[in-house]
Each structure stands twice: as C-alpha cells, then as structure tokens.
Subunit: 222 residues, 2 copies
Amino acid sequence: MAHNIDEGTTGERAYRRIRNDILQGRLAPAEKLKLERLKEDYGVSVSTLREVLSRLSSEKLVVAEGQRGFEVAPVSAEELKDIASLRLLLEVHAIAQSFQSGDMEWEARVVAAHHKLAAMEEKKKAEGSPDIETWKRYDWEFHQALISACGSRELMETHGAVFDKYLRYQMLALTDRGEIAAREHRQLMELALKRDAAKAGDVLKAHITGGLAHALAAGRIV
Amino acid sequence: MAHNIDEGTTGERAYRRIRNDILQGRLAPAEKLKLERLKEDYGVSVSTLREVLSRLSSEKLVVAEGQRGFEVAPVSAEELKDIASLRLLLEVHAIAQSFQSGDMEWEARVVAAHHKLAAMEEKKKAEGSPDIETWKRYDWEFHQALISACGSRELMETHGAVFDKYLRYQMLALTDRGEIAAREHRQLMELALKRDAAKAGDVLKAHITGGLAHALAAGRIV
DNA sequence: TCAATAGGTAATTTCAAAAATATATGATGA
DNA sequence: TCATCATATATTTTTGAAATTACCTATTGA
C-alpha cells in the first residue's frame, strides 16, 4: 500500500501524498481544490497538480466538472453502502478462489499478515490508539493476503481500489469495533488454514456489514 | 459511451480520442507513446497529453513506468481470461439484482436497447460488417441496460470499466460469433422480461466464455 | 573481443507564464 | 427594490520552453 516516501518522480510523490490526504480525511469531502493553494501546500507546479488530480478523478476520489476545477469527491451513506456491498461481492469470491488454490507460501503470508495486525490490535487495546495509519495498513495487508492466491490480478486490483474507498469512509467515521473486528480477523485466518470458504464468507459478511453499520451509526456520514 | 465529439475542454476531447484509439486498436498494444508524435497527431501540448495519459494509466489502458514515459498497455491471453471472468462475476450479480428490482421503465430500456442491437446484427448479417464501432456500442448499451436497475452506481461503473477492457480484446481479435451471439442476446432479453435471473446467468456465462474462446482461437492474442 | 565509461542526443518531466473561462462586483434603468 | 448588463477579478486551462533523466554510440583499456 504505502511506498517509500521519496520514490519515483515528483509527480508520483505528490500523487501519493494527496491521495493519502483524501483517504485520511485531511482533505475534506467536497472541499474545493484550488490549484494555487495546493501549489503552496505540496510544492509542485499547477501542471503537475493537474496531472495528479486527473489521475485521482479516474479513481473517483476527486471530481472534475467541466471547466470549474477539481474538488474532493463527496461522501454519502448511499455510496458507503454501495461500496461495502461491492467489496463484499469481490472479496467473498476472491476468498473462495484463494482458499482453493492457496499453497504453503500463501498460508505463510496470511499467518504473517495476521500476526502483524493482531499485534497492532493488542497494542491499541492496551495503549489507546497509537498509529491509526499503520493499523489500517495492516488491516489492508491482511485482507489482501487472504485473497492473494485467487489467481486473478484484475480481481485483486479492483478489490484494492474498492477497499481504499471503503477505508476512506472508515477514517471519516472514526469508528472502531475494536475487539469484535479482532476476533473476526482471527476467525478468518483460522478458516483460511482450514480452507473453509463458506464459513469465511459468512464471517466476512458479518465483518463488513458490521463495520458498515458501525460507521453509519457514528452519524458523521450523511 | 460516446459523447459528443466536441464537448468539454480540449483535454477531455483528446482523452476520448486517445482512449477510443486504444480500445479500437488503432494505437497498438505495447506501442511506445512518444509525446512529440502524439502532440502532432492530436494537436495538443505535452502537458495536456501528460494529463490524458495519466488518467488512462489509472484505468490501466496505458502503463507509465518510472521516468521512461508511457506506452499502450500490453495484452495477453492471461489478462483476457482474467477480465472475462471478472466481467462474468460482476455482470451475473448485477443482473440478479436488476431482475429483482427492475420496473417497467427498466423493461422498456432493455427492449429498446435490444431492438437497436438486433437491427444492427441483422444488418451485419445481410451486408457484411457496416460499422463495427456503433455495433459494439449497441452491444455495450444492451448489457448496460440489463444491469441498469441493479441499484448500485459503483457496481455499474466498475462493470463498465471492465467491459471496456473486454471490448478492447474483442476489437483486437477481430472475432465475431455472429448469429450465436445474436441468439444469446435475444434470450437474455426474454429472460429479463421473465425475471429468470438463474437462466440468464447461465446464458451470460455461455455468452462470455464463448466469446472468450472465440477470441483466443483467433490466435491474435498471445 | 569484451566491459566500462564518457559524451552527445533524444525523450521525459517540471515549471511559469499566456490564453480562456468562470465568478464576483458594481452601475444603470425600470 | 430588483433585475440586467458591463467590468473587473479570480481561477482554470493550455501552451512552450527549461531542467532533468534516460538512451545510444564510440572510445579506451584490459
């Protein structure tokens, strides 16, 4: 998910920074993106910005209307539900494929990713919330590991894009199901090793719809 | 799919033209996209081109590696299979949803879209291949109409993106299952009116895997 | 003969300013 | 007072050129 901070061209770096700022809510939904201001904030020229914003508008994280410039994509409960259900569709299917053809390397990836995630969740329970950003990354990496043997690059990339949008809502809602999510993560890992795709699908459904309900209940998303 | 030819900014027009040229194979897979040449061909400046190509690289129709410029995304039998199976997953699901909640307006859209497509297929059978581009557009519009009552904007957009990539392969393979595809289209329309999502799923599976096999058999895709 | 390197050329990337477009402000007349 | 139009300002869009980076070729030394 996160690449080295100063890897690639200036444009790529700006792309990653701005994308992250949208995902983390530092650039608020529906906020107008004035080029002059962004130029200051990110230290790049307008042409480069434009390149970055075009790319983000392809990913629907930014909307670009006519010749009225760019703004951060708005959020809505409607879209959140939509995204959650699409994520569920893709991830359930990918898990089934993955459980079928996963080898030992895959099992190792799943166990490793879960280990990191579980450690983070444990730490969070103890000390409060240390580093939301890396915690969310571990969450991403765990779910990615689960489906990493599905055998379809297209499926994984599409899932990744949807997951990121889902993550944005989670960050905006500032919601956290703590131990419940942690238990579900453990269940998913165990079911992966048992290759029980059907049960894993059920758990994932609960995981996602639970997270969705929790985010909606927080009331920060209209 | 196709918007008015001179709608929007210069950049948007160039975007549509280049995108179309990739989808139609006029810009060949893995072809290097030299900015100087494109500048001539499309009559826009390098910065504008760069904006367009960035956007297309988000859609994976163009690849942009490091500071070595852009090239048209390559094709492979592997990716084609991948795309076909993702399209099937999304479209079967969307059809089920759509059949469940489609109203009379939806039925009318389906019938209308099928009418245009069938007329084109009839004409093609009679006169050879008149206008591949509009024929493919009618195909797109028909499948889009079928799922247009699925209730999920995300699902429709994702499906649209995948469908376009699938279409690119069809154009490259120059394959045509003619009457078989036409019969399947008719069946899909009839099953839509009968709200028989299960059978429609089967027909769609045959439709897509048949098209896939036909394209691969043409041997133009390595 | 081969590898390594230096120099030159071609391409990409980035920038800052000009052109085009939209938004805000104020004046005029009903 | 209100709507309409003209002017001015702000913002976006597009351009062309400077800075950077990659690529090719030839020369040197082993």
